[in-house]
C-alpha cells in the first residue's frame, strides 16, 4: 500500500528539512521525500496537503492511560483514540496503574492492549521502584526486554536522594532514562495548588515552587554523580528550568518537558474552585509562565508533554481539596501550542515539531520515530496552521471530561494523523483531500 502526501510543506528537523515536498509512504515505512513534480508511482493513494504542514508523527512522552485498574477513567483504547485525535502517533504511558507497571507482565499487557486498539503506538514507562513505593528497585531489565522506554515513579517521586542515586545507577546499565516528577513532598505538604497570592485568597493549602525546584536541583546533582540520563517531567518553575539550563551547560544528560496548561493558565484560574484547574504540578503565577516561555524559546526545554490525566466526573465533582489532580490534555496540546506559542511568535513551527517529535524520539532513543527519513515508521502528523477550531470536551475521544479548556478556540490544529501508513484520524472537513485511500479512522 502506497500513500503520497502531496503538495504539503514538510518540516523534519531531524533531517534539517523545511520545504515544500511530497512524502511517499509504503507498507508502514517512509520511502522518502520527493519533489512536487517528480513522477508518482502507480497505484498510489493521494493525500492533498496543499497549504498544510507535514511533520513526523508527534510523540507525547507523558500520559496516563489508566489501564489496567482504572478503566472507568480511561482505557488504552480510548486514550489511544484521544491521542490520534490530538495528532499524536506515539504516547508513553506512565506506570501508575493498578497494579503499577513495575514488572514485565504489566508492561506486556499494556503493549498488547495498545496493539489491539490499533491506533496510536503506546510505549510503556516502567516504575523506578516496586509499587512506586521508593523502597526497592523495580525489575527494570525485564521491563526493558518487554518494551519499556524509560522508568519513572511519576506521581510518587522517589523520596530520598540515596534511593534516586541507586535508581539512576541501575537504569544507566540498561540505558533507560529516569523520568522524575520533581516534588519534595515534605515541602509540598499536601498542597492542592500553587502557594502564592491565590492560595491565600482561596484559603487552599499551597505547595511552594521550591518543592519542585529543590528536587530538580537534587536530580541534576545526581545526574552528575551517576552519569545517568535524567529527564525532568512537566516542569513548572523558574528554578527547575534554570537547574536544567545549568546542567546542560555542564554537559550532563539532563532533559526536560513542559505541559501546555502550565503556559496557558495561571493560578488565578483556581478562583471559583473549579477542580479542572487542579493538577500537580499546579498552575502557577505569570512569572513562571514567563520562565517556561523563555525555556521554550532558548532551547532549554526539550519536549512538550500533555500529562494527560483522565479522571471521572464524579471524582472531579468533589471539594477542591479532595478532588484528584490532573486534566485530560491529548486533544488540546497542539491547539494550545499553536495559539499560545507559535501564533504569538514564541517559537517557530519548526521548533514545535522539534518539541513534539524530534526531541522526544531522541530522549527516548526511538530510532525510527520522530523523523520522516527513509526507512522510519510512517508516522505522520498533518497540521493546518490556519484552521480555526473550538474544543468541545463533550466530543472528546477520551472517556473523561476533565478539561479546563472546554470552549477554547484555536488557530492552527491537527488535520490528520497517520500511524504506520494508515490514516487513523482525519477531520471530516478535509476528507476530500484524500483520494483512493481506504481511511481507517479511530473507532467511535
Amino acid at each position: 500500500m502506497r500513500l503520497l502526501i502531496q503538495n504539503g510543506y514538510i518540516i523534519d528537523p531531524a533531517q534539517g528539512l523545511n520545504t515544500g515536498k511530497n512524502l511517499l509512504v509504503e507498507d508502514g515505512r517512509i520511502v522518502g521525500v520527493l519533489g512536487y513534480s517528480d513522477p508518482i508511482p502507480e497505484a498510489t493513494e493521494l493525500f492533498d496537503a496543499t497549504g498544510l504542514i507535514v511533520a513526523p508523527g508527534f510523540i507525547d512522552m507523558h500520559v496516563h492511560l489508566r489501564e489496567p485498574g482504572h478503566e472507568y477513567k480511561e482505557t488504552i483504547a480510548s486514550g489511544a483514540a484521544a491521542a490520534v485525535a490530538g495528532g499524536f502517533t506515539t504516547v508513553c504511558a506512565m506506570p501508575n496503574t493498578s497494579p503499577v507497571n513495575d514488572n514485565a507482565a504489566v508492561t506486556r499487557f499494556v503493549i498488547e492492549q495498545a496493539e489491539r486498539a490499533g491506533l496510536a503506538s503506546v510505549l510503556p514507562i516502567g516504575a523506578v521502584t516496586k509499587n512506586s513505593e521508593g523502597i526497592e528497585l523495580a525489575e527494570m531489565g525485564e521491563m526493558k526486554d518487554a518494551g519499556i522506554v524509560a522508568v519513572s515513579d511519576d506521581g510518587c517521586p522517589v523520596p530520598t536522594a540515596g534511593m534516586m542515586r541507586r535508581a539512576m545507577e541501575y537504569a544507566r546499565g540498561f540505558d533507560l532514562p529516569v523520568i522524575d516528577h520533581c516534588e519534595d513532598k515534605s515541602l509540598a505538604r499536601g498542597g492542592v495548588m500553587h502557594e502564592g497570592h491565590w492560595s491565600l485568597v482561596l484559603g487552599l493549602r499551597g505547595m511552594p515552587a521550591a518543592a519542585e525546584e529543590v528536587d530538580a536541583e537534587r536530580d541534576c546533582v545526581l545526574a552528575e554523580l551517576t552519569g545517568a540520563r535524567v529527564h525532568l517531567a512537566h516542569l513548572s518553575t523558574r528554578g527547575a528550568i534554570e537547574a536544567v539550563r545549568r546542567a546542560r551547560q555542564k554537559g550532563l544528560h539532563v532533559s526536560c518537558e513542559v505541559a501546555p496548561h502550565h503556559w496557558s493558565l495561571t493560578d488565578e484560574a483556581c478562583q471559583g474552585y473549579d477542580t479542572n484547574t487542579k493538577m500537580n504540578p499546579p498552575l502557577r503565577s505569570q512569572d513562571y509562565i514567563d520562565a517556561i516561555l523563555e525555556g521554550l524559546r532558548d532551547g532549554t526545554i526539550d519536549a512538550i508533554a500533555s500529562d494527560h490525566a483522565p479522571h471521572h466526573a464524579d471524582e472531579k465533582a468533589l471539594e477542591f481539596d479532595q478532588a484528584p489532580n490532573g486534566i485530560v490534555g491529548l486533544e488540546t496540546s497542539i491547539g494550545l501550542a499553536m495559539e499560545r506559542l507559535v501564533n504569538t511568535g514564541v517559537i517557530s513551527l519548526e521548533r514545535l515539531v522539534e518539541l513534539c517529535a524530534t526531541n522526544p524520539a531522541r530522549i527516548l532513543k526511538l530510532q525510527d520515530r520522530g523523523t520522516l527519513s527513509a526507512g522510519a515508521r510512517a508516522d505522520v502528523t498533518i497540521l493546518d496552521p490556519e484552521m480555526t477550531w473550538t474544543f468541545d470536551v463533550s466530543r472528546s475521544k477520551s472517556k473523561s471530561r476533565n478539561s479546563p479548556f472546554n470552549g477554547y478556540s484555536f488557530r492552527g490544529g491537527v488535520v490528520a494523523t497517520i500511524v504506520r501508513g494508515r490514516i487513523v484520524h482525519l477531520l471530516p472537513e478535509y476528507s476530500r483531500s484524500v483520494r483512493g485511500t481506504r481511511i481507517e479512522l479511530a473507532a467511535r
Binding site: H197, L200, G203, L204, D314, L318, Q322
Partner: protein, 344 residues
C-alpha cells in the same frame, strides 16, 4: 446578592447595607418577645460539617427569631470517608425545597460547590481557611457600635493568620470600609504574601507589639493545638509568651482600644484572662451582634428582603400572629414594652 459566600466579592455599599439591616434587627433580641414573622413559612437548613457551638446556635436563633423553620444537620465525616458526596447531600436537601442553606465545611470553596446544584440561597458559615463572612460582619457591627464607624481605624489581627478564615474576611471587610489592617504572629503562620492580599495592602509584622502600636482594635485569633504537632511553633507555652496578648501590650495601643476574639478562647494562651474579662473586651458583645448579623443575612437572602422590600415594615410587625411566640410570650400588650438598656 443571591448568596453570601465571602466578603471579598462584596462592595462597601453591600457591606454597609448588611450592617444597617443588622442594626435594625439588634433591637428584636432585646425585646421580651424576641420574634418577628419576617421569615414565616421559610425553611433554613444549617448544614454543619465541622463542630461549632457558637456559630450554629447563632444561626439557629437568628432563624427562629425571624420565625423561619430552622433545621440543623451535623455531619461529622467528610465526603471522602463517607459514602455520600457533598453535592449529593446538597441535591437531596434541595429536593426538600429550603429557602436558605447555611453551610460550614472544612474544605475551602465548599459553599461555591453548593451554588452549582442548589436554588436555595447559600450562606457561608466558614469554609476551610477561605472565609467566614458573618464573623467579619458581626465584628464590624461591634466595632461600629463602639467606635462609631470603621473608616480610618487601625486594626491589628494577631495569631494564626495563614489558616484563619476569620482573618481573611476581616481584612477584606475592614479595608473596604476604610480601616488599615496589620497582622502579626509566628513567622510560620504569617506569610509575607499577606501584605498584598488586598489592593490597599496589609502591614505584616513579625512582633505583635509592632502590629498593636497605636491600634484602635486588637483582634486575637484562636490558636489551634494541632498547629504545634504540625511544627508551626514549638509549644503552647512559648506561643503564650511571645504571641499571647497581655496587659502590657494594651499600653501600646490607643488609649480607648478595644479587644475582640472570635471564640472559642484559649485563656492564657492567645489571650490572658485579665484582658478577656476586662473592660476593653467586647467578646460577648460580638456574640450578641452575631445573632443580629445573621438575622440580617437570612432576611436579605431568604426573606422579603431579597426582593428589595424595606426592612422596617416586617420588623416592626410584632410576632403576635405567630403561634409559637404567642404561647411563649403570653400577654400581648407586653411585646411593645420600652427598650431596656442598650448594653448588657
Amino acid at each position: 446578592m443571591k448568596h453570601l459566600l465571602g466578603i471579598r466579592e462584596l462592595s462597601a455599599d453591600q457591606i454597609v447595607h448588611l450592617l444597617d439591616t443588622a442594626e435594625t434587627f439588634r433591637d428584636i433580641s432585646k425585646r421580651e418577645i424576641k420574634k418577628v414573622p419576617a421569615l414565616r413559612g421559610r425553611t433554613v437548613i444549617n448544614l454543619f460539617f465541622e463542630a461549632s457551638t457558637r456559630t450554629r446556635t447563632s444561626f439557629e436563633i437568628a432563624a427562629k427569631r425571624l420565625s423561619a423553620d430552622a433545621v440543623n444537620i451535623s455531619v461529622s465525616t467528610s465526603s471522602v470517608s463517607k459514602g455520600e458526596t457533598l453535592l449529593d447531600t446538597a441535591r437531596n436537601l434541595q429536593a426538600m425545597a429550603p429557602d436558605c442553606i447555611v453551610i460550614r465545611h472544612q474544605s475551602a470553596g465548599a459553599p461555591y460547590h453548593l451554588t452549582r446544584v442548589c436554588d436555595a440561597a447559600i450562606v457561608n458559615a466558614g469554609d476551610g481557611a477561605h472565609e467566614h463572612p458573618t464573623q467579619a460582619l458581626l465584628d464590624a457591627l461591634t466595632i461600629r457600635e463602639h467606635k462609631g464607624g470603621i473608616d480610618g481605624l487601625k486594626v491589628a489581627i494577631i495569631g494564626d493568620i495563614l489558616h484563619s478564615r476569620v482573618a481573611r474576611s476581616n481584612i477584606y471587610l475592614l479595608s473596604k470600609l476604610g480601616a488599615t489592617v496589620s497582622v502579626a504572629g509566628p513567622g510560620t503562620l504569617v506569610p509575607p504574601e499577606f501584605a498584598e492580599l488586598i489592593e490597599q495592602g496589609v502591614r505584616v509584622e513579625q512582633r505583635i507589639e509592632d502590629a498593636i502600636v497605636d491600634s484602635d482594635v486588637v483582634m486575637i485569633l484562636r490558636m489551634q493545638r494541632e498547629r504545634q504537632t504540625d511544627a508551626f511553633f514549638p509549644s503552647m507555652r512559648e506561643y503564650a509568651v511571645h504571641y499571647g496578648l497581655h496587659l502590657n501590650h494594651l499600653n501600646l495601643a490607643a488609649t480607648d482600644a478595644i479587644v475582640m476574639h472570635p471564640g472559642p478562647m484559649n485563656r492564657g494562651i492567645e489571650i490572658s484572662s485579665e484582658i478577656a474579662d476586662g473592660g476593653r473586651s467586647l467578646i460577648l458583645d460580638q456574640v450578641t451582634n452575631g445573632v443580629a448579623v445573621r438575622m440580617a443575612v437570612l432576611y436579605l437572602l431568604a426573606g422579603a428582603g431579597k426582593d428589595g422590600q424595606e426592612v422596617s415594615r416586617d420588623v416592626n410587625v410584632v410576632a403576635e400572629s405567630d403561634e409559637t411566640s404567642r404561647s411563649v410570650g403570653g400577654v400581648r400588650g407586653r411585646t411593645r414594652k420600652p427598650r431596656r438598656g442598650t448594653r448588657n
